[in-house]
Symmetry: none
């Protein structure tokens, strides 16, 4: 009765182990990239942190670059899922954007590892696989159509927002940022889109839901290892 199931079982167990090992690798890579920089030589550190052999690494990733992409992809999809779940109920697109930015910055502040990684990836984080995503574009367009935001080409709006947000996170990754930093950055951004000053401040100051990233994102389940900070 379970003999026929065995192959399936074995297959599943094997798949699980694969997934687990892969995850360990991606997690370690996030750490190492964050600490040593995305252009650094990384494999030795990654396999040591993940506790696997050199050969095993190549069973999962073809190259350095491959690994960076994997980290980036997984990070992005986990973050987007996380944030969209929180903001999707908000009807006003301006508030949705404000809250989304706020959460993004909050997560970065609570996870230095993440902040450092994003700061490292830097401007490259934009582009096809950009962290700032489709639904943000939709929200922007929506806000402009509703007259909440000033008429303005979409890509300009996206770039401004992304530039400012990235810079904020870069600052955070350098440490020593006060709690008033995020709302001020956000309200500057909102004003840039034509929101009236008081309203921008109000939106940016709205209390944010507290995200438990650790619970949701597999990548966050490890502390930064500052000793690598070469």
């Amino acid at each position: 009765m379970d003999k026929p199931l065995q192959p399936d079982h074995r297959t599943r167990v094997a798949a699980d182990r694969r997934a687990k090992t892969r995850n360990r690798l991606v997690q370690s890579a996030l750490q190492v990239f964050a600490c040593k920089g995305v252009d650094a030589s990384v494999i030795d550190d990654v396999i040591e942190a993940a506790g696997v052999s050199r050969g095993t690494f190549y069973n999962y990733f073809q190259s350095n670059r491959d690994l960076l992409l994997a980290v980036n992809d997984q990070l992005r999809s986990e973050l987007i899922t996380l944030i969209e779940k929180e903001v999707c109920e908000i009807p006003d697109p301006a508030e949705r954007i404000s809250t989304g930015l706020g959460l993004f910055i909050q997560v970065a502040r609570d996870n230095p590892l993440l902040a450092r990684f994003i700061a490292q990836v830097g401007l490259e984080a934009s582009g096809p696989g950009r962290l700032v995503c489709k639904s943000l574009a939709d929200d922007l367009q929506h806000a402009i159509q509703l007259g909440r935001f000033q008429e303005c080409p979409l890509h300009i709006a996206l770039d401004s927002m992304e530039g400012a947000a990235l810079f904020a996170i870069y600052r955070i990754s350098l440490g020593g940022i006060s709690d008033t930093h995020a709302p001020q950055v956000i309200s500057t951004i909102l004003r840039g889109f034509g929101l009236e000053s008081q309203e921008a401040a109000n939106l940016a100051a709205k209390p944010l839901p507290k995200l438990d990233v650790r619970a949701t994102c597999s990548l966050m389940n490890s502390a930064a290892k500052p000793e690598l900070t070469n």
Copy 2:
């Protein structure tokens, strides 16, 4: 009568030669960094582009990093000099900022080499030796004091501006940017500081003096060598 001058003469000639060689190296380095990225291994390309021997390189720079700093420093000081000379006569600090940003972006657009380099250096360009400089901070403060700009912590204002400007240049370095791009970015920035929409648009649209960078900046006297584009 000229015998006593000889030592001086020799010294001066030698110093000249040093300066010239160093300049060749920095110039070549700008090209190579722009094309291959600031983290790339660069020395071989640089010495070939500069037409000097490997040993000569090390007579001037200790390392890759050292070279990058030299390029960055020289670039910054040349750009700042160039732009400040143009804007120093403008009485309104808001317009000074607007014009300065506009010139910065214009120079970047006219010199793909420069745009690429700045985009590469990216966020790191900020910090103590940041491209965005002392006088910009002064202008901002001034504009806030006069009530032209919204009250706002200086570092936030600087970061926003720098983030947006860097991003704009990054976009330019990727190519395919229309002429309306710059004014739109700038007016978004100005609005972010609380300028009323119409005025922001007006300032951002003011015609700019045409800078002849090639005439002024020693670093610009060479065309990009796209074949190096890694």
Copy 3:
């Protein structure tokens, strides 16, 4: 039934391979150091002689210096083991010393490679990891206590002996040494410790057991490669 053994097996096989490669390297290094001198740049020659790649070398040794230490250590321990096995049965400490020195010089004469290496390492061979070892110090002390040797500070005695022995080996490494050389050096040393002339000569002339170094020392299993003689 043998599946569980696999990991062990693999581990052992790998360890074996490591040991073998390391040995090949140390052996080659002995040759090259002997021929080119201990301060020479040696890595290229060593890896060629050992038939391994550059990278492999660095899997085993961090540097030139590291390699030299490894050769020195292994040589010393093998030599000491070899000689002590021969002399430990001799009751008279003076004779033990005389025989030990004789054997040491004999080995050096029979293995030009070894002689050259020791001559190269020269004075540095003394110090914590000195070729002249613990048991020699014990023998000296013993001989002094028994009144066989003149009262004299131990370190002076050791230095004298070492100086003379090293010098003898240096001479041997230069070639053209007659068979009477060793006994004469040894009897001079023994006289220096206060042994009466005739007795010194007698001890120094005692026939020595013939050591088969090749059979015992892994490092000796290769002929000198005189073509490397720098």
Copy 4:
């Protein structure tokens, strides 16, 4: 009246300057060799210490090796001259040898620079340009003929003596040597040549004339620069 003399004068002045520069170079080289080792890369340090340009160096020496030989030669000749002047009046060859050795060691102790250099040159100090020189050989032969020293092949005697003396100086260069060290070494050497124990001790203990090396040897007119110690 002095016109005809001018050429001579100029020639002499020029020759003087040449000699002075050369001396500065040799002196600096002694320091650098002593500190960094005789196989080290040395030219940069030497020209800096001597305060001359790279090109000037090659006006005086063809190569590194050339420089080492020059230092060695000058040192040897100055030392020999110095010591022989002191001992030539001593009628007993055994005492002449004892005194010579004592002076040699004394000079080494008073001039750490010298001790280090000799220790660096090490066994190579022997050979054609050896520090231990012709007149020592004569003294030895003489002492043997007179029956003061035990019958013994000359080269064995020379080697023993040189080995022991070099070793003593090596020890001195390492520092922390007491004043009783030298006499003990010397008396061990003398006993090795068959001198009766008491007499050896007496000879070795004879008070030595105090040499003022600084006054005599141009090479000693500079302090060791320990900061160069590699």
